[in-house]
């Protein structure tokens, strides 16, 4: 059973992941089914409780899950446009006089969702590290990357943090990059403790060799059009994110 967190409408996820599920069923010779978790929390619960076999999971969720359940097996991570890492963007309006992070003091700042890796956790950490967080005149959590971009464009906030895709979409509407954030390993597939080690290896093998399959590229691009490969992954790939999250937890944001 492969579970996916509900980052898109269920029907859309069904469409995107069905080719992969069918591919796994064929290569493993086992019946693999797709399930969409009702919420991010439930997704985490199902993983840590071992109620499902395979899961597609975001970096921040993985760090949380791995802390609770170290028996999780990492299978493969996405390679997007040739890179298995991604970063966030700290942005402002094109006509703003903010050039570097230190210019942000006395300014207002927009984050996305509190649990979002690139619109909150990573950039928040960097602002904290540079001691800018407490110099901001105000900051707020807007629900979603797009909202942050529009909040800055519309002039409600002086700066904000968003993922690369949203930045590219709104860049020509008047956004300017201040600084890229630290890079974090991409989204990944894991198997839970419920899956026997031998089968786990089989699944990993199937995922990592997917591009050798004639339809492989089509299958992974169906998940996200910018995905170019599935590459090997280990838990330590996420240690920088883990450090960030621990640090932020201590700060009790």
């Amino acid at each position: 059973m492969l579970a996916v967190h509900p980052y898109l409408p269920a029907l859309e996820l069904q469409k995107r992941f069905t080719p992969l599920v069918e591919h796994l069923s064929t290569t493993l010779g086992r019946d693999v089914t797709l399930t969409i978790s009702p919420s991010y929390e439930e997704h985490l619960n199902r993983i840590t409780q071992g109620e499902i076999d395979i899961a597609y999971i975001g970096p921040a969720s993985f760090v949380q899950a791995y802390q609770k359940q170290p028996e999780l097996e990492t299978l493969a991570k996405l390679e997007v446009n040739g890179s298995p890492f991604f970063h966030g963007k700290i942005i402002t309006k094109s006509d703003s006089n903010i050039r570097q992070l230190s210019d942000l003091s006395g300014k207002s700042f927009a984050f996305g969702n509190k649990n979002s890796t690139m619109s909150h956790l990573v950039p928040r950490y960097e602002l904290e590290q540079q001691g800018i967080m407490n110099k901001l005149s105000s900051f707020n959590y807007l629900d979603g990357h797009k909202n942050v971009a529009l909040g800055v464009l519309i002039g409600k906030y002086d700066a904000g943090a968003i993922k690369e895709g949203v930045f590219l979409k709104y860049q020509n509407k008047g956004l300017r990059l201040i600084q890229n954030t630290e890079t974090i390993s991409e989204h990944l597939f894991i198997s839970t403790q419920r899956v026997p080690a031998a089968i786990s290896i089989e699944i990993k093998d199937s995922l990592l060799k997917i591009t050798q399959h004639s339809n492989g590229l089509k299958i992974i691009k169906s998940i996200k059009p910018t995905v170019t490969n599935l590459v090997s992954v280990k838990p330590s790939d996420y240690s920088n994110l883990k450090k960030i999250m621990q640090k932020l937890n201590n700060l009790d944001y």
């Binding site: 309006k93 707020n140 807007l142 629900d143 979603g144 797009k146 909202n147 529009l150 909040g151 464009l153 519309i154 002039g155 409600k156 509407k173 008047g174």
Partner: protein, 344 residues
């Protein structure tokens, strides 16, 4: 006194006046309707704009900026009158710009709305008003057709009234005057002038087409004696009787007239002497067969003498009548109640 030409002119002047005045009224009415409809439409669109502004204000207040663009798209999708939407934040950022591919320069209306809130937004929406034009067009057609119908009916009615009360009496009186000028009052046949005119016309026609034409001059025998014996009223009656009898024999196309006193002329187009002789003889016999008058045991038979001649090539009406006249005198000389003609 009305003249028929005047009546016709008056008729057409009324017609023009109706067309011009109804056109002016129609134009004024249509323009008024257009203003009214535009104003109504403007108010309803203003209401819609108010509602849209309220949605945007709520989204901005709740910092749901990403909802604004889909809202505009949905709005434009639901209201097909929306041609262009432009929403600009007060820092100059264009929140959304929706525009249809077809640009319509006329029949559009642009409405502005300032959205108050944490972030000021000005809305400019251009609406399509072609539907009003469609409504106006069909209304115009309706009014024009009903105007045409009204004018047609009115003019027909006016025509009937004018014909009945103005033109017909006029024509009747005209006919009366023409009759007075051309008819002999006693016998109601052509008088001398009309007979001459028509004879001239027939002669030139027959000459042009090289057709024969014969002329009879008929004179009542001893008419003076009858008048003297029985009085003028009997004489007049005999003239009317003879006219009726001759009229029964000749064709409709023949020209019949009273030349004066007891003398009648009959112009017979298309007839040679031979054929005309048959007609003349029938006239003579018919008159002869009328019952004689009687006074003091003396009989006064009613008979006619006739001079007949056919038109020759280089002859005109005057000489033809003169020739006929001399033949008539020959007939009188030959004992009356007979026909004299040139036998060729």
């Amino acid at each position: 006194m009305f003249k028929r030409a005047n009546i016709n002119s008056a008729y057409w002047i009324i017609f023009l006046f109706l067309i011009i005045s109804l056109s002016a009224v129609t134009f004024y009415f249509i323009e008024h309707q257009r203003e009214l409809l535009t104003e109504l439409e403007k108010n309803s669109l203003k209401n819609e704009l108010e509602i849209a502004a309220e949605f945007i204000r709520e989204d901005i207040t709740a910092e749901r900026y990403q909802h604004i663009e889909p809202f505009f798209q949905l709005w434009a999708h639901k209201n097909h009158k929306i041609l262009n939407i432009k929403a600009i934040a007060n820092n100059g950022f264009v929140l959304t710009e929706h525009s249809t591919s077809t640009k319509i320069s006329t029949h559009t209306i642009k409405l502005d709305k300032e959205v108050e809130g944490p972030i000021g937004v000005s809305l400019e929406v251009e609406f399509d008003l072609r539907e009003i034009e469609k409504e106006i067009n069909s209304l115009t057609m309706l009014v024009i057709f009903s105007n045409i119908g009204f004018i047609t009916l009115f003019m027909i009615l006016l025509w009937i009234i004018a014909q009945h009360y103005l033109v017909k009496p006029l024509r009747d009186s005209e006919d009366k005057y023409i009759g007075l000028a051309t008819k002999d009052p006693l016998t109601k046949i052509n008088n001398r002038r009309a007979f001459d005119d028509q004879t001239l016309h027939e002669i030139s026609h027959c000459k042009r087409h090289s057709r024969p034409l014969s002329m009879l001059i008929i004179d009542l025998d001893h008419f003076k004696r009858i008048n003297d014996t029985f009085g003028h009223h009997v004489g007049d009656y005999i003239l009317q009787l003879v006219t009726t009898e001759i009229n029964m024999i000749i064709r409709d196309t023949d020209v019949f007239g009273r030349l004066g006193g007891e003398e009648f002329g009959v112009c017979l187009p298309e007839l040679t002497t031979k054929a005309a002789l048959l007609t003349a003889e029938r006239i003579r016999q018919r008159i002869e067969s009328l019952p004689s008058l009687e006074s003091n045991n003396i009989k006064y038979p009613i008979t006619v003498s006739i001079g007949l001649c056919e038109l020759t090539n280089n002859e005109d009406a005057t000489t033809l009548l003169q020739r006929c006249d001399s033949l008539l005198y020959e007939a009188k000389g030959a004992g009356r109640n007979c026909i004299k003609f040139h036998d060729e």
